[in-house]
C-alpha cells in the first residue's frame, strides 16, 4: 500500500474518530473491549478504504463499515466478564451546571438504549446522530417506511423501560 493512501486514511480517521468511539461505547461494556472493537473497526475501515471513492463524506462512509463491524464481524471475547458499568459508560455532561434530574434522566435513557439488541441499537444510534430515515434505511438495508415504523416501536419500548 502506498504511503499517500495510508496518510490520507489515518488523518481522516483521526479527525473522525469520535464516531467510532461512540459506537464502541454503545456496543461494549468495558475499556478493553472498547479498544478491541476500535482496533477491529480501524482495520476494517482501512481494508475497505481503497474502494472509498469520496463521492460521499468520509464520515458517512464510516457509519456503515463501523456498524457492520460492531454488529456482525466483531467477536466478543468469551473470557471477559460482562459488567454493566453504567456509571463508566454513561453519557458525559460537561462541567456546565445541569440540574440533577436531567442528568439522571440522561443516564437512564442511555443505559436503556445500551440494553437494546444490536440491531435496534444501531437504529437508535443513527437517529441520535441525526441521520434521516433515508440514510438509516440505506445503512441497515431495510426500507425507509420500515425503518420509521421500527423506530416508533423502539421509542415505545424505551418508554416502557423508563416508565414501567
Amino acid at each position: 500500500m502506498n504511503k499517500e493512501l495510508e496518510h490520507s486514511f489515518v488523518t481522516q480517521l483521526e479527525e473522525n474518530q469520535n464516531i467510532v468511539h461512540k459506537i464502541c461505547r454503545l456496543y461494549t461494556n468495558d475499556s478493553d473491549a472498547h479498544n478491541d472493537l476500535f482496533q477491529e473497526i480501524t482495520i476494517q475501515l482501512w481494508r475497505a478504504f481503497p474502494k472509498f471513492r469520496g463521492d460521499s463524506k468520509f464520515s458517512t462512509w464510516m457509519y456503515r463499515v463501523a456498524l457492520n463491524t460492531a454488529i456482525t464481524l466483531y467477536r466478543k471475547s468469551k473470557r471477559r466478564v460482562k459488567t454493566q458499568d453504567f456509571e463508566g459508560v454513561s453519557f458525559k455532561i460537561s462541567a456546565e451546571a445541569y440540574d440533577d434530574t436531567v442528568e439522571e434522566q440522561l443516564k437512564l435513557m442511555y443505559s436503556a438504549v445500551k440494553g437494546l439488541n444490536d440491531v435496534d441499537k444501531a437504529l437508535v444510534f443513527l437517529y441520535l446522530e441525526d441521520k434521516n430515515y433515508r440514510e438509516i434505511s440505506e445503512t441497515l438495508g431495510i426500507s425507509e417506511v420500515n425503518a420509521r415504523v421500527k423506530m416508533n416501536r423502539i421509542k415505545g419500548k424505551l418508554r416502557k423501560i423508563l416508565n414501567p
Partner: protein, 215 residues
C-alpha cells in the same frame, strides 16, 4: 418521547469525551491483523472442505485390494468422478459467495452474504455425510449379495476372521459397520452444530431481527 429527544439534543449539542487515539496509534492499528468472525468462518470452512476431500482420498490398501477382487472397482470409479465434480462445484460456489462479502454493504446484505457462505459449506457437509452413508449402504448390500465370495476373500488374509464360522461372520461384520457408521455421522453432526452455533448465534439472531422489520 421526552427522554430520547433530550438525549438526542445533548448528543448533538456537544461531543462526548473520549481519550483520543493518536495518529501514530491508528497507524499501528492498520498494520495489525483482523480477528473478525469472517476470518474464522473462512478458516473453518476451508478446514471442513479439506477434511472431507482428504477423507475421500484415504482408503486403506487392504480395502482397495478387496474392492478390486470383488468387482466393485468400476462402479466406485464412476462414483469418485461424480464426487470430484460435485466438490469442484462447491468450491466455485464457496469462492463466489466469499467474494460477495463486503464490509461496505448494508448491514442486512452483509449478514445475508455471510450466512449464505456458511450455508454452502453446510450443504457440502450434508452432501458428504449423506454421500458417505449411501455409499456405505450400497457397498454393504453388494457385499451381502456376494457374501460367500467376500468371506473367502477376507478370511484368506486374516486369521481372526477365518476363525469365525460364516453364520457368525456376517452379523459381526455388518453390525460393526453399522455401529461405526452411525457413531461417525453423529460425531460429525454434533461437532458441526457446535462450530456453527458458536460462530453464528449472534449473527443469526440479528439477521432475524432485521428480517422481522421487513414483515
Amino acid at each position: 418521547m421526552d427522554e430520547l429527544e433530550l438525549l438526542k439534543a445533548k448528543w448533538q449539542e456537544r461531543e462526548q469525551e473520549f481519550p483520543a487515539v493518536s495518529y501514530k496509534d491508528i497507524y499501528k492499528m492498520i498494520l495489525k491483523k483482523s480477528s473478525s468472525i469472517v476470518k474464522w468462518i473462512f478458516v473453518i470452512s476451508i478446514a471442513e472442505i479439506l477434511f472431507w476431500i482428504v477423507l475421500g482420498l484415504l482408503t486403506p490398501e487392504t480395502n482397495k485390494a478387496l474392492i478390486q477382487n470383488i468387482g466393485l472397482q468400476s462402479i466406485l470409479n464412476v462414483i469418485y468422478i461424480f464426487h470430484y465434480v460435485i466438490i469442484a462445484v462447491f468450491l466455485v460456489l464457496f469462492y463466489l459467495n466469499w467474494k460477495n462479502i463486503q464490509v461496505t454493504d448494508t448491514v442486512k446484505t452483509l449478514m445475508r452474504n455471510i450466512l449464505k457462505t456458511r450455508k454452502t459449506v453446510k450443504y457440502f457437509v450434508i452432501y458428504n455425510v449423506a454421500g458417505t452413508a449411501l455409499v456405505l449402504i450400497f457397498v454393504n448390500l453388494y457385499f451381502y449379495a456376494n457374501k460367500e465370495e467376500l468371506y473367502s476373500l477376507i478370511s484368506k488374509g486374516n486369521e481372526g476372521y477365518a476363525a469365525l464360522p460364516p453364520e457368525n461372520f456376517f452379523p459381526v461384520l455388518f453390525v460393526s459397520f453399522l455401529v461405526v457408521g452411525i457413531v461417525l455421522i453423529a460425531f460429525i453432526l454434533v461437532l458441526y452444530r457446535i462450530i456453527y452455533g458458536i460462530l453464528l448465534k449472534r449473527l443469526k439472531y440479528n439477521y432475524t431481527e432485521l428480517e422481522k422489520m421487513e414483515e
